[in-house]
Amino acid sequence: MKNTLKIVLFCLLVLSTNLFAQNVTVNNNLTFGTVYPGIPKTISKTTAGFAAEFYISGIAGNEITIDFALPTYMNIGSSNMQVIFQETDCAIDTSATPDQSNPEFNNLDPWHTLTYRIGSNGLYVWLGGILVPGLSQNEGSYSTNIVITVTYTGN
């Protein structure tokens, strides 16, 4: 009896974990590719394969907030290169058929908290940006982190 009870409670705990589980995954990193010194390069949020893509799974209809921690520089060793995120560089699609080239919610500000409800097919977030290499920018592969935090609001 005692063991049965334990097993039932364990299963309930596991079930409860699944019920409230949500995940944000990185489908694609923001990829600027080849860049030349002195030539700024823009990646549009609607450019598949180059714009950053995040996928958020969870219970359809639940409201979440999305916050970015965005970098202002990319680095290689001690060399920095400016990266700019504008107030319209983010897009979201919560529809059943997400379309990066024509997102449901376009021109969103990644610098502020975004509040949306998860759709039946999850929620997709896309992010573009501008890279500004200097005229004498050191050669090399630069990188930086983009942190996305997703939180249930309880609504």
Partner: protein
């Protein structure tokens, strides 16, 4: 009031609720770390490898230097990312002057005085491939740094000086300025 089994059930229930609450609070937020990446190519550099040299010139006698004259043609070496598209512009003088500016001598650049070589070749007299005998005042579009395996492009420049019959004797010089920039192609 409660038997042992009831107490155990209550204990486990409390444990379950506590666990559930913890699970909720833990799973109510998720964080992912993406990244932004870029490959910056080599910065452009241009070097005046050899001046355009007319040598000795006589009053009233025009003198030309061809762009394939290994010893006298002006040579500029542009280095950068192999295969990258560039735009270039030459600012050419209209005259050479004495150090004090006391006298001037006309210089002319014809529409075929420039050769651009995008191969490994660095010798004006041994053109490899690129743009042969083009106008230094109107450089062609589509210029590139070398090729996929060559990271330099050479400019070979000729010209013509036109000393007057009463040109003052002495050394004359003028600046030739080459401006080059990546165009992102």
């Amino acid at each position: 009031m409660f038997n042992n089994l009831d107490l155990k059930i209550i204990r486990y229930f409390i444990l379950f609720v506590a666990g559930l609450t913890m699970t909720q609070s833990v799973s109510a937020q998720d964080v992912a770390n993406g990244s932004a990446t870029a490959n910056v190519q080599a910065a452009l550099a241009i070097v005046n490898t050899q001046d355009l040299q007319f040598g000795s010139v006589f009053q009233g006698v025009a003198k030309s230097v061809t762009n394939n004259d290994a010893a006298a043609a002006g040579i500029f070496t542009i280095t950068g990312a192999a295969g990258a598209g560039i735009s270039a512009y030459l600012t050419l003088p209209q005259y050479l002057a004495t150090p004090t500016g006391f006298d001037r001598m006309n210089i002319a650049f014809r529409t075929n005085d420039l050769t651009i070589d995008s191969t490994l070749n660095t010798d004006p007299s041994a053109f490899g491939a690129g743009w042969l005998d083009v106008d230094p005042n109107n450089l062609p579009t589509g210029l590139v740094i070398g090729s996929d395996v060559v990271s330099h492009t050479m400019l070979f420049l000729g010209g013509r000086v036109l000393p007057s019959v009463d040109q003052s004797a002495g050394a004359y010089s003028g600046n030739i300025i080459v401006t080059v920039a990546y165009n992102g192609t």
